[in-house]
Symmetry: C2
């Protein structure tokens, strides 16, 4: 019937294994890892080698038995990239196909407004690619993190206030036009959740939420390894929660109530000399009663977000992240407040810090690359989705 050009199914499994583990592997190791027989893996590797997707990189001796040939993925097979577009910093990483960063650059966001931020981000990526010596190599996927609502059915990104854009903007097309490879655009907190799952605090949890508290607030929810995007890509937009605090003040739904912007505003109303929320936390730690009171209020707001997330999705773990959230003082207090919930989650700090979104962006890029690489090389004439 619909006969797909399947090639050798085992080749796809072996390639995936070759890409997921960083560093070269012997064919016997691959056979064990893929639960395939050695002859099958040998044939698959021969095929991959002829397609330019695998190559012998070294010999391993010293152990009893015959020396084994170690295989890796040639640099020419491609590379992937991660880009993190933030309100204060831009990051770009160029990685090999297993996701190991070759070059990672960070720069403060000079630009305001979607168009110029995109321009600056693309420049940074190009720079990273040059530094990594991967200019002639195909970019198989670029994961891009953006602080806004990314709707899977609509190219327009909404609520990207943090990069100075208050109108819906077609980030996807702009990035795709400027980058010579498939662009995977995703919300920054969602990517932080993916990052924490792959290499961080959410590795063992069947379900966890990341709450990022930086300039604004947002949450990312993972369920059995899959991201909960929501029908319009707005899952985890906890700024839209009708919290008790919001009601008390008469504002029906104040988006950045728990974010750093609002906190700083409040702090400056108290003492205009304050320029940074970090100072506020330091003063609170030293016992300044006004600072303690503001920080306590902030912890209450975050605990209400935790409570709402627990009531709706009941995560095992809640990971606090972002410039404000990833903070011992705050995490401990939020954990105390949350322990009063009917079914309290485990509260931990981010394991990846401010690199979480970038790590997640790289992870989605490697996944995409691994899924499409073989098909792309096997049928170079067909249209690539």
């Amino acid at each position: 019937m619909n006969r797909v050009v399947s090639g050798t199914p085992s080749a796809s499994v072996v390639l995936t294994q070759l890409l997921t583990v960083a560093g070269p592997q012997t064919r016997s190791e691959l056979a064990v890892a893929c639960a395939l027989s050695r002859p099958t893996v040998f044939a698959a590797m021969e095929r991959l080698e002829s397609l330019g997707l695998a190559e012998p990189v070294a010999q391993r001796s010293g152990l009893p038995g015959r020396t084994a040939t170690l295989y890796g993925v040639p640099a020419a097979a491609g590379c992937v990239a991660g880009v993190d577009i933030g309100g204060t910093n831009l990051r770009a990483a160029v990685c090999d196909l297993s996701g190991t960063p070759l070059v990672e650059l960070k720069r403060s966001t000079r630009a305001r407004g979607a168009a110029s931020v995109v321009r600056q981000a693309v420049e940074l990526l190009v720079e990273a690619r040059v530094a990594a010596d991967r200019v002639g190599v195909p970019l198989l996927a670029a994961g891009v993190s953006i602080p806004g609502v990314v709707n899977p059915h609509d190219p327009m990104v909404r609520y990207a206030w943090n990069v100075g854009e208050d109108q819906p903007y077609d980030f996807y097309s702009q990035l795709s036009d400027a980058i010579d490879g498939p662009v995977l655009l995703e919300n920054n907190v969602n990517l932080a959740a993916i990052g924490e799952q792959r290499h961080g605090a959410g590795a063992d949890a069947s379900m966890f939420a990341v709450i990022a508290i930086g300039t604004g607030v947002g949450a990312g929810i993972m369920h059995n390894g899959v991201l909960l995007r929501g029908a319009h890509g707005a899952a985890g937009e906890v700024a839209f929660l009708p919290t008790g605090h919001a009601h008390r003040r008469g504002t029906p739904s104040s988006a950045d109530e728990a974010g750093g912007k609002a906190l700083l505003r409040e702090a400056q109303a108290l003492d205009p000399a304050l320029t940074d929320v970090a100072e506020l936390f330091e003063r609170a730690r030293l016992g300044d009663p006004a600072a303690v009171s503001l920080v306590e209020d902030e912890c209450r707001r975050i605990s209400e977000i935790v409570a709402a997330i627990c009531a709706v999705v009941d995560p095992e773990t809640v990971i606090l992240s972002g410039g404000i959230g990833d903070n011992d003082f705050l995490a401990q207090r939020v954990a105390e407040l949350s322990s009063a919930l009917p079914i309290p989650p485990t509260i931990v700090r981010s394991a990846l810090g401010d690199r979480a979104s970038l790590v997640g962006a790289i992870a989605t890029a490697t996944t995409h690359a691994a899924e499409h690489l073989l098909a792309r090389v096997e049928a170079p004439d067909s249209v690539t989705g």
Copy 2:
């Protein structure tokens, strides 16, 4: 290596197809539905027939071409059951393996307390089985709906207040001991969500939430066809939400704030003659200002639950269900209030009414039966999980 007794893989696919569609099918139809060639399906059917899992039930002629033999599943192959344990009503259905109810019984819950409610429910199931003439036939799965928090890692069911049980109770073991087949215990609103997905208002949505407002309130969330249970089975326990209303009154988290119990209490404070919330809604519809005000408050509370669910998981559709929720007046008002949300969902009434949980219980039972039937028949000596 780990060679599983796979038998004929195609047989499993064909059997699943045979079970998912109610009514007999020809082998050619099965071949198309399973995307297999006719010879393969013929072989699979021969195998299934020899195992007693399929039998020719009729001949179909009238169409051009040779008369086809229609195959079905013999009654002796087994049956499944659905049980809905509620605070006011008990339901039990005995169905064939494709989930078509043969007998469905409903009885008001006389019993109070977990143990006696379980006893009454099991009695009803036995009665239904006798009426359906399926006593000697193996019960391959019984889906049981319970208004409480069912933790997948703990047999204890919590918060089953609606059946008069305020202590954690091991419903699973009690039901398993009394029922001669695998018991699949699940929260009632979660099952309502599964029901709405299979045969109701959530059939096309990638993500939707069911909010059931009866004696209490609860929500069930489906995401790409899978139920969001939560780490402790407490996803959708929106009674635990820290709503603005709760805060206004100074109660930190009042569990049944939006439920019918609370609403009736308020209504009776106004007019002790009221015995039923339906009367309250009727009065509101006729314009009684006190009733309108109470109903309006109720709609606000529900809208806040909708807002919280949307902020956290962003569903495409919200289905209102339960004795109070499944109501035109309320649904319309909640839809109006929710249209002001940043990303408003579609609000609809339940398509299954008060049978939603039962339909969901039957659906989980048929799924379980379809997944385990072949293995069970192929290896009758091995232990069945």
